[in-house]
Amino acid sequence: MNETAADVAIVGAGVIGAAIAFYLTRRGIRPLVIEKEDPAAGSSGACDGLVFLQSKKPGLHLELAIESRRRFEELAQVLGPEIEFRPSGGLCLIENEDELAALGRSIAAQRAGGLPVELIAGEEVRRLEPLVSERILAAGFSPLDAQVNPYALTFALLRAARAGGARLLGGEPVVGIETAAGRVRAVRTPRRRIAVPIVVNAAGAHAPEIGRLAGVEVPITPRRGQLLVTAARPPLLRHGLISARYIAAKFNPELARSGEMGFSLEQAESGNLLIGSTREFAGYDRRTSFEGIRAVARRVLPVFPALASLPVIRTFAGLRPYTPDGLPILGPVASMEGFLMAAGHEGDGIALSAITGEMLAAHIAGDSPRFPLEPFRLERFSTAEAA
């Protein structure tokens, strides 16, 4: 068994682990990223690329997302065009009066929270996106909604981090975390022991397994999202698109189960359309199902009938790390010194990657993060129970 050492070990080379590594190296800290498969092998490589703000709950969630979105312009400069960042703006499509009323309220709250977003009429929606059918009454429009290539972003963050001195240990699962006197001492893979005082759990839907190795209970559940990919086409869509129902379903599992889930839709820079997504609790099963993929197709067609003749060439499923309150779990864990959480972003991992990376890096470097970690800490769940 090899013995080695590191200042910081990050478990997981998804977009969150990669972002933390990237922001750490900017502070001169050189972490070791440990990944059991390849970078972006989990949810970061099985999602769409919407950096959406309209889908965030007004309040803490939205503030965090806006802070993250601000950093994407800079990331695009530093990482280059390969991450395919496009500030394309986004439309949240409204199909009926109930949705209109609900979205109207949410837009007012989002505007109060600092998000530039407005309600636009159906004709205006069709002027912006000619393929939208008459079914759509109105839409929320935010110029801050954007698109990025999620796995290109992950790879680019890692590449920049490695250029800054980070190391990547691929193909090695973390199988043990050694602790003594209430603090982290080392992590073990089948091949080596790495003495390390700080371990960041950025294992996404697998964060509970990593937590258990340190005796930390992590309330994250895998929530499966199935997506369809069509053949590439010349530009058909100009914005990131989601249906108002889709946002509602995110915060309401009852609605998700009922099938009234809406959809998300984008055209990637490659020309492929990505259509999502189911939200199912199906354990760690990453298969797609007839039911799931047909349901997604059925939802998008009435709104985009012109897409009926597009061939679907691929489907995939990712496991979103779901938390009970819809917010990620970030920062130190009270019961285990040196063990930090950075997981539980559910479907927001790409959008929140930049701010998550920066917050964790600042905390590790001993600075106070520009956005407070406190509301995102693991202990909020035990407090809630006690209350």
């Binding site: 390849d38 970078p39 691929g170 490659s270 679907v312």
Partner: protein
């Protein structure tokens, strides 16, 4: 959604599927046979009317069997794409006339055959470079696609294709087979009882030689050259460690290059159904694991033909029949004679597997040879045509810390195009194994999800018919 129910569904109307359907239909078991093509037979025997196949007698037997089927027992769905398989088993089908069909069955036989295996070399994507199987298919339809050919690649199939070209009046300027002659000669044990095949092989060789074709073994397709389309093929001898020998290059003018590097099994439907796989390079790579009665590791699912080991039509015919009999036995509908036949077929199957190993081995170069070959290929070589991924991209991604074909696929888009990776996903596996010094088969085959064939969004979201 209510699915139509069948006792048995057979995916694939090649020799294995047909032989299986024949057994079951004769016993009066209601079954469903689906195939993508309008005519049954699979690419090997579909157009066997021209009958230059030594398997024609067996084929004719099967066709007769199909004709004699009780019509009410067997439903044949040609021109029908298999889109997905789910536990049950349940099948999602896309008939050519439109709509989607959902089928539930008690038992499923996966007999989805094999496709050609390609290895990349400079110029392999030029117009005028086509698969040996495609050339053979054209010839069977009476089409001679060019006057001057080069046939190249590896394995014994090249000779058969060259003979067919010559027979149809084409000229084969060179047959460049990277396999060595010694590897192409069948071992004596394999020859026993194979009179027809030996005779067939000798006749083909003679025909090619008499036509003036230069047959070169241990000779590689170094480059396909041409401005906009193929004009010449550069060949060169290789040493035993897979390095090409400088000074042995030859430039052969040709209008068409028929290339092939053996075959690879169409395991994707079985993978989707969750069937455990195994890797045996000399049987065609990744294959479906079965017991002696061709039961896969998934309850109710059988595999027959090339998917259990690439071995040709005779093996497929046998396995189709064997699977059919095994199903009847499970259903309690087999007499003693039938059980005796199962035993006989199981024994004969072993010999046909040996034939398969001989057939595939010459195209499966040693790991060291592959490493030397792929290491020598230029950076700008195209690996994935659909997404224009070059060898350079793969080398860079490996250097950037990706280790597996699955990771490289995500990082480079290799295999993400409209062909669903059917051409290049095998190549990517081989390239990554070779460049990382790993063994062939060191990586699991890339995961498979529905749709197995592209399907229109409107169909997917529409009602079943």
């Amino acid at each position: 959604m209510a699915a139509e129910r069948f006792e048995i569904a057979i995916a694939g109307g090649g020799p294995a599927g047909i032989a299986c359907a024949a057994v079951l239909a004769q016993a009066g078991v209601p079954g469903l046979l689906i195939d993508e093509h309008p005519r049954l037979g699979g690419p090997g025997l579909r157009d066997a009317a021209g009958a230059f196949s030594p398997f024609a007698p067996a084929w004719a037997r099967t066709v007769r069997a199909i004709r004699s089927l009780k019509k009410e027992a067997l439903t044949v769905l040609p021109r029908t794409g298999l889109i997905g398989i789910e536990p049950g088993p349940r099948l999602l089908l896309a008939p050519e006339e439109g709509g989607l069909r959902e089928i539930a069955c008690r038992r499923l036989v996966i007999a989805t055959g094999a496709r050609e295996r390609f290895l990349p070399f400079p110029g392999w994507t030029l117009p005028g470079v086509i698969a040996t199987g495609a050339v053979q298919m054209l010839l069977k339809q009476g089409i001679l696609p060019a006057a001057d050919f080069v046939v190249g690649g590896a394995g014994p199939f090249l000779l058969a294709v060259a003979a067919d070209i010559v027979r149809r009046g084409g000229r084969v300027r060179a047959l460049a087979n990277e396999s060595r002659l010694a590897d192409l000669l069948p071992p004596p044990g394999l020859l026993a009882g194979q009179g027809v095949k030996i005779l067939d092989g000798l006749l083909r060789t003679l025909r090619v030689l008499v036509s003036g074709t230069r047959i070169a073994h241990g000779t590689r397709l170094l480059e396909a050259r041409g401005a906009g389309r193929l004009q010449a093929v550069v060949t060169a001898r290789v040493d035993k460690s897979g390095r090409h020998l400088p000074g042995t290059e030859r430039v052969v003018p040709a209008a068409l290059l028929a290339m092939g590097f053996g075959f690879t099994a169409n395991i994707e439907p079985a993978q989707l159904a969750g069937c455990p796989l195994f890797f045996e390079d000399t049987l065609g790579g990744w294959l479906v694991q079965t017991d002696e009665s061709l039961r896969t590791g998934v309850e109710g699912i059988y595999a027959a033909g090339e998917v259990t080991g690439v071995g040709g039509a005779e093996k497929s015919l046998l396995e189709g029949r064997l699977a059919g009999l095994a199903i009847l036995e499970e259903m309690g509908r087999l007499d003693a004679a039938g059980r005796g036949e199962i035993t006989r077929l199981q024994r004969k199957r072993k010999a046909l597997l040996s034939f398969g190993r001989w057939f595939n081995r010459p195209s499966r170069f040693a790991a060291a040879c592959r490493t030397n070959w792929f290491a020598s290929l230029p950076d700008e070589l195209t690996i994935c045509r659909c997404e224009e991924v070059r060898l350079r991209d793969i080398r860079r991604t490996l250097a950037a810390g990706c280790r597996t074909p699955a990771g490289i696929k995500k990082a480079t888009r290799c295999g993400m195009g409209v062909c669903q990776g059917n051409t290049c996903k095998g190549i990517l596996q081989e390239v990554v194994a070779a460049l990382t010094g790993g063994p062939p088969g060191g990586f699991p085959p890339p995961s498979v999800r529905a749709p197995l064939r592209p399907v229109d969004l409107g169909l997917l979201g529409g009602d079943t018919v």
